[in-house]
């Protein structure tokens, strides 16, 4: 019985908690991608770098606040700087839209042209971030490190396995839940949100019923900036901030959005968790868990790790291909243009 509990705790500590946290981050990222796809109708390759830019502005603001001696006690100061980061990113993406994307929207350019344009934007944003903050690792998390440390957990429960929950992990999940609730409330209950969904479902009908497309586009970009910045900051708090990592998040984020069904917000969240859970499960070494569960004679010698952690992209990719082969529009009904 104790062995079973130990196995569950080990599994929770190394698989379930990290996967939930990573899944929340992916879900927020994928929501941004899916919104752009639904309303602006292209795959935005600059999304990873938008996240990096948002996180960067937030980090700079955090440093500013810290130097003024302002902090939030047990919470990371970055939370206070988040609105500044969102505002900065919103300005940047709105300027990008006005200077770059608007032209192609008016031309009714093919989606693939917009994708290539977003590649150019990606280069510029990537360069901007490196130019301003440099390509190196930046740590900006402060406040309490842990809610429960592994040692406390062991002392309190008497189990030999510990369960550590970082405060950033809990924060990620809580913030993600709040953001998702706000987003769905906005999309389903407010007039603007409804007009956005109408625009996404049928552009011509929406235009006929007097919806102002430029306003819808503007609000979409602002929401996307907020989602991307929040996702970027949470990821940076939980792991660390490095511009290149954000770029390589592009693959799991797109995989999440596509697996869930591009253009479908609910799908993006589900996709984020599907990808995160499979990545973490497949690359986790199950030796410990198996050691508790199996009788001693069966105990494995190897790590019981299906794939080394370097192959996590392979997992995102495999899930993506499998889902696309069996459900071409994703788990939830996505759209295709």
């Amino acid at each position: 019985m104790i062995d079973l509990l130990n196995a569950i705790v080990a599994l929770a500590n190394f698989v379930i908690v990290p996967a939930i946290v990573y899944g929340s981050q992916l879900a927020l990222g994928a929501l941004g991608v899916t919104l752009i796809y639904g309303i602006l109708r292209f795959s935005n390759f600059a999304h990873g770098d938008t996240m990096a830019f948002g996180a960067m502005v937030t980090i700079l603001a955090t440093w500013g606040l810290q130097s003024l001696g302002i902090n939030l006690g047990v919470f990371p100061t970055a939370l206070l700087a988040l609105p500044i980061g969102i505002a900065g990113t919103a300005l940047l993406v709105l300027a990008t839209d006005r200077l770059v994307y608007k032209f192609y929207r008016e031309q009714k350019a093919a989606p693939v042209i917009l994708v290539i344009v977003s590649m150019g934007v990606m280069f510029i944003m990537n360069g901007l971030v490196r130019f301003i903050i440099g390509p190196d690792d930046q740590r900006f998390a402060d406040g309490a490190r842990f809610i429960i440390t592994a040692r406390d957990f062991k002392e309190k429960t008497g189990l030999s396995e510990g369960l550590a929950i970082k405060s950033t992990a809990a924060l990620t999940v809580v913030v993600a839940i709040i953001v998702v609730i706000l987003l769905f409330w906005f999309l389903n209950k407010t007039r603007t949100g409804k007009s956005m969904r109408a625009f996404s479902d049928n552009e011509d009908l929406a235009l006929l019923s007097g919806i102002n497309p430029e306003r819808v586009v503007m609000i979409t970009w602002i929401i996307v900036a907020a989602l991307a910045t929040t996702a970027g900051v949470l990821y940076g708090l939980d792991k660390s901030f490095k511009p290149f990592t954000y770029f390589s998040l592009l693959l799991p984020i797109f995989a999440s959005a596509i697996v869930g069904g591009l253009g479908n917000p609910l799908g993006a969240i589900a996709g984020g968790f599907v990808i995160a859970f499979s990545e973490v499960t497949v690359t986790y070494a199950f030796k410990k868990v198996a050691g508790y569960l199996l009788p001693e004679a069966w105990e494995p010698d190897s790590l019981v790790q299906l794939l080394s952690t370097d192959y996590k992209f392979a997992v995102s990719f495999a899930i993506l291909v499998i889902v696309l082969l069996f459900k071409p529009t994703g788990l939830f009904q996505g759209k295709s243009i």
Binding site: V115, V117, V121, F123, F244, F247, L250, D310, F317, V321
Partner: protein, 434 residues
């Protein structure tokens, strides 16, 4: 499909820029740009086949280039006999088992009737096969990686002349492209793009991780060259006498000779490829490709097999990228999986194709040279520019120090700006499709 005077002038401008580097800076740098420019031009030709001829959106160029580099290692490096003795046959057996598993699963998927049994059987074959594969492979790789890990720790190659690796690199890339194409080409363009992006990351992860194959992040260095070594030239009395009599410093002359030899080899490859691509584009096959690109439905209604043609061009274009990858590993004399980054090896090639003019082979070649020149030169230019801007600021002022330090990142900004400007004001590129 011939060159207009305007296009020839553009080529002269680009070569003039590179020559200016030679006159004002050093011929070594200029020839370095020419050699990588030649390789970039070949990569751009490959991407242009996929995008320009057929409208396929492949952003996994990096993976194919890396596979070509792997080809260079597996062909040209001397075999490590102890490693082969330690586990070579076992690795081959494991790989065969892996392939057998995939084939069995594929057959089961095709043969069995639809339903729950089928899913169960296919999954069972895959899972059991995977564990058997790992059980056979793991001890072998551990044994191989133990053989003198500081110097080898991998199986090595075949020890053949490195020039053979060029077609082999192309074949590797073609094989990977066939696999991807079979699974992903039926998908929509965005999905294909993400799929290729994923494959490229997996190829790099494999090369970083499978030490028995490619030494992983320990890198393979000293791939044998197809041209003489500088040091041999410098020790060759005939070469030294000849160069001194012409009034050159033998050391500089030796490195320039080596670079020129590479350029010669690369130019031969580029001319052959360019000739082949031009001939293909002008042939009925090329017209069919463009017809498919411009209207898939109409082409299909005319009885063209769109999926098969897409697969064909996807394999061809990827093979060209693999060839370029093998050439690049030959030029560098090493394979360093850690340096393969999508911005440099996928998206930069895309900038070359778009700026040069998608659908035009000469445009891709021009774009390859021009963008590579800029990629190299933006850094020194950017530094000069920033020094000029900051010249009014006091020394030691934080902004000045920061700006000077960040000048190195100007190149990404510049590339993005060039891409956006070309897309906006000259969307058909410098040498448009005609």
């Amino acid at each position: 499909m011939t060159l207009l005077p305007r296009d020839i002038i553009l080529f002269f401008v680009v070569f003039g820029l590179i020559a200016a580097t030679g006159f004002f800076q050093s011929w070594n740098v200029a020839l370095g740009i020419v050699n990588m420019g030649l390789i970039s031009a070949i990569m751009a030709l490959g991407v242009n086949m996929q995008w320009g001829y057929a409208g396929l959106f492949n952003i996994g160029v990096m993976g194919f280039v890396a596979l070509g580099g792997l080809g260079a290692v597996l062909v040209a490096m001397p075999p490590v006999n102890e490693a082969w003795a330690a586990g070579g046959l076992r690795v081959i057996a494991a790989l065969l088992l892996g392939i057998a598993t995939v084939i069995a699963a594929h057959q089961a998927m095709r043969r069995l009737p639809k339903g729950r049994t089928k899913v169960f059987v296919v999954l069972a074959i895959l899972i059991v096969g995977f564990f058997i594969y790992r059980a056979v492979l793991d001890p072998a790789t551990a044994a191989i990686e133990k053989v003198n890990p500081a110097a080898t720790g991998y199986l090595g190659g075949l020890g053949l002349p490195v020039l053979f690796s060029w077609p082999v690199g192309a074949l590797f890339a073609a094989g990977a492209a066939w696999l991807i194409g079979k699974t992903a080409l039926g998908l929509r363009s965005d999905y294909l793009a993400i799929a290729t992006l994923g494959i490229a990351e997996i190829v790099i992860a494999m090369m970083k991780n499978e030490d028995w194959l490619s030494r992983g992040v320990k890198n393979v260095i000293g791939i044998p060259r197809p041209v003489p070594y500088e040091i041999d030239l410098q020790n060759d009395p005939f070469f030294v006498a000849r160069m001194t009599s012409w009034g050159f410093d033998p050391v500089t002359a030796s490195s320039i000779t080596v670079k020129l030899a590479y350029s010669g080899l690369f130019i031969i490859v580029l001319i052959i490829l360019l000739w082949l691509s031009q001939a293909a584009l002008a042939s009925p096959w090329g017209r069919m490709m463009r017809a498919i690109r411009d209207n898939e439905d109409a082409a299909e209604a005319m009885g063209k097999d769109v999926t098969a043609r897409h697969l064909q061009i996807f394999i061809l274009g990827s093979a060209v990228c693999g060839l370029a990858g093998a050439m690049m590993a030959t030029l560098d004399g090493q394979l360093t999986p850690g340096t393969y980054q999508p911005l440099r090896f996928t998206f930069l090639i895309w900038v070359m194709v778009i700026v040069g003019g998608s659908g035009n082979n000469f445009g891709s070649v021009l774009g390859g040279f021009l963008i590579w020149y800029l990629w190299v030169m933006v850094e020194p230019f950017g530094l000069t520019f920033i020094q000029f801007i900051t010249s009014g600021m006091a020394d030691g002022y934080w902004l000045k120090a920061h700006l000077l330090e960040s000048a190195a990142h100007m190149r990404l900004l510049t590339m993005g700006l060039i891409l956006l400007l070309v897309l906006r004001f000259s969307p058909r590129g410098l040498i448009p499709e005609r």
